[in-house]
C-alpha cells in the first residue's frame, strides 16, 4: 500500500530529517520526502492502520522538525 501526502516544510535538510523520521516509524515500510514537490510518499507495511501510522509519522516528524506539517 503506497500513499502520497502533501507536506509543508521550510528547508531541504529538514525534509531529509522528516524522511528519516518517517522511515523509522512502526508500520512504515519505506518513505521518501521530496522537498521540491513538497510531497511525502509512504509505503505501509501489510495490514497497517494507515491513519494511526500517519499520526505517529507526524508526531515523529514534529520531533525532528517542529515547523513541519503533513496533510492526511
Amino acid at each position: 500500500m503506497k500513499k502520497s501526502y502533501k507536506i509543508e516544510v521550510d528547508c531541504a535538510n529538514c525534509a531529509n530529517k522528516m524522511e528519516d523520521a518517517a522511515k523509522k516509524t512502526v508500520g512504515v515500510k519505506n518513505a521518501t520526502v521530496s522537498f521540491m514537490t513538497l510531497r511525502m510518499n509512504v509505503e505501509f507495511e501489510e495490514g497497517a492502520d494507515i491513519s494511526a501510522v500517519m499520526a505517529q509519522v507526524l508526531k515523529n516528524c514534529k520531533r525532528v522538525e517542529s515547523d513541519c506539517e503533513i496533510y492526511f
Binding site: 531541504a12 535538510n13 529538514c14 531529509n16 510518499n41
Partner: protein
C-alpha cells in the same frame, strides 16, 4: 513584489529591513559598555528570535545539529566574546542578518522554481462538461463514468481520454509533447487528455476513467519523479548527516585545545581569540549550499526536460542517461514510422502503374492486413467495391479476385508460382506484392516502412552526444533492417529477432560495457516492455496514450521524434555537470574558508560569504538546469 513571496517570506523580509535599519542607526549612536550591548540586543532579537527558539526546540528534542543550532551557538558566542573582550556586537547581528537574507533568498528561489515547473506541467483539468437535459453541466472529472459523452469547448483542456463522436477541431498538444504544431482531429479519432481544444466544439465518448487517463498518469509520474533519488542526492543527504556533527566537534576542539596547549606552554591562553575562531568555523560549516542546490538541480533538470516533452522518472535516470555510451534502438515505430507505404510500382508493358495499383487495391479491398491497407491508401481513386467479386484468400500467399471481369491475383512469389506466372526479381527492402491479370504477369508493387524524417539527424546527434555505438535490434528481415541502418549510419544491426532475442542482445551489451558506462534501449513501448525494463535506461518513444510504455520505461518521450533521444542525453549531461560543479564548488570554498577561519586569517565576514554567498551562487547555478530549450 506582489505574489513573488508568501506571507511567511514577507514577514522575514520586513524583519530583515527593520534589523538592517536599526543596525544603521546604532552605527551613529556613541554608546559604550552595557548600554551598547543592550542596544544591539534589539536588532538581534528582531532578526534572530525564531532561530533561537528553533535551536532551543532542537536541543529539547535531542536533535541539536541543524543550521539553527549552529547559528544560535555562533551568534550567542560572538555576543559573549563582545561582552567579555572586544565590545563589538555588530558582528553577531550581521551574521544572523546575512543568514536570514540567505535563507529568504533560497526559500524564494525554491518556491519560484517549484511554481515554474508545476506551471509547465499545468495540465490538470479541473472539470468535465456533460450534457444533461439539454444543458451543459460542469462536473468533477473523477465522477465521469467510462463511456459517457463529454463536451469540450474551444479553449478547454480535454479532461479524459476518449474518441471523438462529433465535431472537428485542432488540438494543442504542446503541454504534453513540447510540439507546437496543432493536431487536427475529427470524428472517430482517439484524443488524449491534457491536450487543449483550440478551434471547434468536440463531443468525446470517454474510453477510460479519469484516474486511468493519460493526464492523471503523467501527473502521477511527474509528482513521483522527485522522490526517486539519485546517487549524488543520497550522497549529499548522508554527507550532511555526518558533516554537521563533525564540524561541531571540530569547532569545540578549536576552542579548547589551542588555549589549553598555550596555557601548558606557559603562554597567554587567548581564550576569546580561539573561541572567536571556533565560532567562525561554525558559521562557515552550514551544509545548506549542498543540501539545497543538488536536489534543486535535479528538479530543474527534470522540469526542463518535461517542458520539452521528455518525461524523466527520477534524478537517478538523469545520472544514468549522462553516462550512456551504448544506445540500442528498435526499428519499427522508433526509427521508422511503423506505417507501410507503397514505395515503388513496377508495371509491365501494356499496363499503367495506376491501373496496377487500382487492381491490387480492389483485390485486397476486404483484407485488414497492413499491406492491404497501404495499397488502398496509395490508390488515389475511390474504391468501388461492387467491381470486385469472388475474393479468395490464399493463406500466407495472397488473394485472388474477380475485378471488372478480369481474374486478378495479388500476392507473393509463391502465389505466382502456383499460378505458373513468372515474376520479376526485386531486390528492394520491403514487402513485394506481385500482380497477375488474367494469368499474365502485370508487375509488382513494393511496400515498405518509411524512415522518420529526422531519424538520420537523430543518429548523428547521438554520435555527437558521445555515444560510442548505436545498435539496431529488430524483428524485421535482414534486407529491410540493413537498408534502414545504412541509410541512417547505425553501427551494428541484428535482424530477425524475437522479443526474447532482443532481451538477450541487451543483456550481452550490459555485460560488455565498462563499469561507468550505461546502456539505453529505445523502443516504442508496446511489445518492448521487458527490454525497456532490462536496460540501464529504458526510453519509450511516442508514448502519448500508451500506458504500457509509461509504466515500463524510465524516460518517456511524449512524441515520435527520435531526435529527442540525444536531447534527453544532452539535458542529462548538463544537469549532471551542474550537480558536480555545485558539489565541488561548495566543498572547495567551504574547505578553504574553514582552514582560513581556523588559522585566524578569515573572520566572520568571510564566514558569512562562505555560508550565504556560496549557497546563493549554487542555487543560481542550479536554476540553469531549467534552461534546456536550445541544447
Amino acid at each position: 513584489m506582489g505574489d513573488i513571496m508568501t506571507k511567511k517570506q514577507k514577514k522575514v523580509l520586513y524583519r530583515i529591513i527593520a534589523a538592517a535599519a536599526l543596525m544603521l542607526a546604532l552605527h551613529f549612536i556613541p554608546a559604550r559598555g552595557l548600554l551598547k550591548f543592550g542596544l544591539y540586543l534589539i536588532p538581534y532579537a528582531v532578526i534572530g528570535t525564531d532561530i533561537l527558539i528553533k535551536a532551543a526546540k532542537g536541543i529539547k528534542n535531542r536533535q541539536p545539529t541543524d543550521e539553527c543550532f549552529l547559528m544560535a551557538i555562533a551568534t550567542v558566542g560572538a555576543m559573549a566574546v563582545g561582552l567579555i573582550k572586544t565590545g563589538d556586537y555588530a558582528e553577531a547581528v550581521l551574521v544572523m542578518l546575512f543568514y536570514q537574507i540567505g535563507e529568504l533568498f533560497q526559500s524564494v528561489a525554491v518556491s519560484r522554481s517549484r511554481r515554474n515547473i508545476t506551471k509547465l506541467l499545468d495540465i490538470r483539468p479541473d472539470h468535465a462538461n456533460i450534457e444533461r437535459d439539454g444543458a451543459l453541466v460542469k462536473v468533477d472529472p473523477f465522477e465521469v463514468p467510462v463511456g459517457s459523452i463529454i463536451v469540450i469547448q474551444p479553449g478547454e483542456k480535454i479532461p479524459i481520454d476518449g474518441i471523438v463522436t462529433k465535431g472537428l477541431s485542432a488540438l494543442d498538444t504542446a503541454a504534453l509533447t513540447g510540439e507546437s504544431l496543432p493536431r487536427d482531429v475529427g470524428e472517430g479519432v482517439d484524443v488524449v487528455s491534457g491536450c487543449i481544444n483550440m478551434t471547434g466544439v468536440l463531443y468525446v465518448r470517454t474510453t477510460k476513467a479519469f484516474e486511468e487517463s493519460t493526464v492523471s498518469r503523467i501527473l502521477d509520474l511527474v509528482e513521483n519523479a522527485a522522490a526517486v533519488k539519485s546517487r549524488p542526492e543520497r550522497f549529499v543527504a548522508r554527507f550532511a548527516r555526518v558533516y554537521t556533527p563533525a564540524v561541531c566537534i571540530g569547532a569545540l576542539l578549536l576552542a579548547l585545545v589551542p588555549p589549553v596547549v598555550r596555557l601548558a606552554l606557559g603562554e597567554n591562553a587567548m581564550w576569546a581569540d580561539w573561541i572567536y575562531r571556533a565560532l567562525t568555523f561554525l558559521v562557515i560549516s552550514c551544509p545548506c549550499a549542498l543540501v539545497i542546490s543538488i536536489p534543486l538541480t535535479f528538479f530543474a533538470g527534470i522540469g526542463g526536460a518535461g517542458n520539452q516533452g521528455i518525461l524523466v522518472k527520477g534524478g537517478n535516470y538523469l545520472d544514468a542517461l549522462s553516462k550512456t555510451k551504448y544506445v540500442a534502438l528498435d526499428k519499427t515505430g522508433t526509427l521508422t514510422r511503423g506505417v507501410f507505404e507503397v514505395s515503388a510500382v513496377y508495371a509491365e508493358r501494356g499496363i499503367s502503374s495506376d491501373d496496377l495499383l487500382l487492381y491490387a487495391a480492389l483485390a485486397e479491398c476486404a483484407s485488414s492486413h497492413p499491406i492491404a491497407k497501404s495499397l488502398r491508401n496509395a490508390c488515389k481513386a475511390e474504391l468501388d467495391r461492387s467491381r470486385v467479386s469472388m475474393i479468395t484468400e490464399h493463406s500466407g500467399k495472397g488473394v485472388t479476385a474477380l475485378v471488372d471481369g478480369k481474374i486478378i491475383a495479388a500476392g507473393n512469389e509463391k502465389l505466382m508460382a502456383e499460378l505458373s506466372v513468372s515474376s520479376r526479381q526485386v531486390d528492394e527492402a520491403g514487402a513485394v506484392v506481385h500482380i497477375a491479370v488474367d494469368g499474365k504477369y502485370g508487375g509488382c508493387i513494393v511496400v515498405s516502412d518509411v524512415i522518420k524524417q529526422n531519424a538520420a539527424n537523430a543518429i548523428s546527434a547521438l554520435k555527437k552526444a558521445g555515444i560510442k555505438k548505436t545498435i539496431m535490434l529488430t524483428g524485421d528481415r535482414a534486407a529491410a533492417a540493413n537498408a534502414v541502418s545504412s541509410a541512417l549510419g547505425i553501427d551494428e544491426v541484428h535482424s530477425g529477432l524475437l522479443p526474447e532475442d532482443k532481451a538477450e542482445r541487451v543483456k550481452s551489451l550490459l555485460e560488455q560495457k565498462g563499469k561507468k558506462e550505461r546502456v539505453a534501449f529505445v523502443g516504442d513501448g508496446i511489445n518492448d516492455a521487458p527490454v525497456l525494463a532490462l536496460a540501464d535506461v529504458g526510453i519509450a518513444m511516442g508514448a502519448l496514450g500508451s500506458d504500457a510504455a509509461i509504466e515500463a520505461a524510465d524516460v518517456v518521450l511524449m512524441d515520435d521524434d527520435p531526435e529527442k533521444i540525444a536531447k534527453a542525453i544532452r539535458i542529462a549531461k548538463k544537469t549532471m555537470s551542474i550537480v558536480y560543479q555545485n558539489i565541488l564548488f561548495s566543498l572547495l570554498i567551504k574547505g578553504a574558508c574553514l582552514l582560513l577561519g581556523a588559522a585566524g586569517i578569515a573572520g566572520m565576514p568571510v564566514a558569512v560569504f562562505a555560508d550565504v554567498g556560496v549557497m546563493v551562487i549554487a542555487v543560481l547555478n542550479a536554476l540553469r538546469a531549467l534552461i534546456v530549450k536550445k541544447i
